[in-house]
Symmetry: C2
Subunit: 201 residues, 2 copies
């Protein structure tokens, strides 16, 4: 059994959303599975003394164009959310609650649902009412989801995920590690695939 691919993401990261759409198929093509880690990019940015690309005016304009174009290249539906970026700690805590109480597949299903809701119809993941509605739509108990994101247990779980990401050298998202080799960015898909296909190159 080959080792899983670790995949770190933030629910407010367009490139993470795009990567979330291709990573399972890519992994499967090479007999791998994906181990997802929901994190807060703001925390890893702060640790690395970085800022979001969209916090720089000149880069922001380019980035908005590139988000949509990168999605089209992968044939992934994409509609730039009007509110962007947004705080994603509640969505991430729901991820870890599902991950630890149900399993990785349930957490992955939530990740897919939340990403798609935000990046195709601007669902307000940072708004408790909208997030509860999305949880229900995704087949979760909305009240239990809300209780989870307010629960110190799942707050601590997300904090641990952030700390582990920083310890693993993660400074952006999407971030992948395969067999110890780090790959940063949706645009590293060709390198990741080459690595899985041929081994170190």
């Amino acid at each position: 059994m080959k080792a899983p691919i670790d995949f770190w993401f933030d629910f407010s990261s367009p490139y993470s959303y795009i990567a979330n759409e291709w990573v399972d198929a890519l992994a499967a093509r090479h007999g791998r599975t994906v181990r997802r880690h929901a994190i807060l990019l703001g925390v890893t940015f702060a640790a690395a003394e970085l800022k979001s690309p969209v916090s720089y005016p000149i880069k922001r304009e380019y980035s908005l164009r590139d988000f949509a174009r990168s999605a089209r290249l992968e044939r992934v539906p994409y509609v730039q959310p009007a509110e962007f970026p947004i705080p994603t700690q509640n969505a991430a805590r729901v991820f870890w609650w599902q991950h630890d109480t149900v399993g990785g597949d349930a957490a992955a299903a939530w990740a897919r649902a939340a990403f798609r809701a935000y990046f195709t119809r601007g669902a307000a993941l940072h708004d408790p009412a909208a997030l509860k509605a999305l949880a229900a739509e995704a087949g979760l108990d909305a009240g239990a989801a809300e209780a989870a994101w307010n629960d110190p247990v799942w707050k601590a779980r997300l904090k641990r995920a952030n700390d582990e990401a920083i310890a693993a050298g993660v400074f952006g998202a999407p971030f992948f590690v395969a067999d110890g080799e780090p790959f940063w960015g949706n645009d590293r898909k060709p390198q990741l695939e080459r690595w899985l296909s041929t081994g170190p190159f």
Copy 2:
């Protein structure tokens, strides 16, 4: 006749070096030519309030690994220079001197020679003696090259190139514009190629 592809680069940028190796063939596949612009990344970084990725310790370690891996993916020889990054204004002034007094092909030949010398054998482009030796090796009059990089005319020419880059929205390198569409990074090769192949997508 289709419009040329504009290509901005800094001689100290590994991703620019890699792109410089593939951009002509890519352009030719789509009936295009390349219009090169040697600039100083430090100037565009400052204008956009950005810093080099290698100025962030966590990002630096990843970047050094990614430079070499990105080169291997494109089958371009790459040896990380021990002195990195380096000031490149003299090499860039030689580029513009060749460009304006001989032509674009001569400037491109110099770009190729200088990039390869720095990124395969660590030639010190920032050292006047080493740069003169490289100029001679590249078939230029070394004394005239040195006179050019000290000449206010070519200093002003490089400054103009930097200003024009900033006006064109360039905030990093390699940076390409094809038919008004901007592409930033060696890793945007697939998007640039798709654009040239199919038009807007």
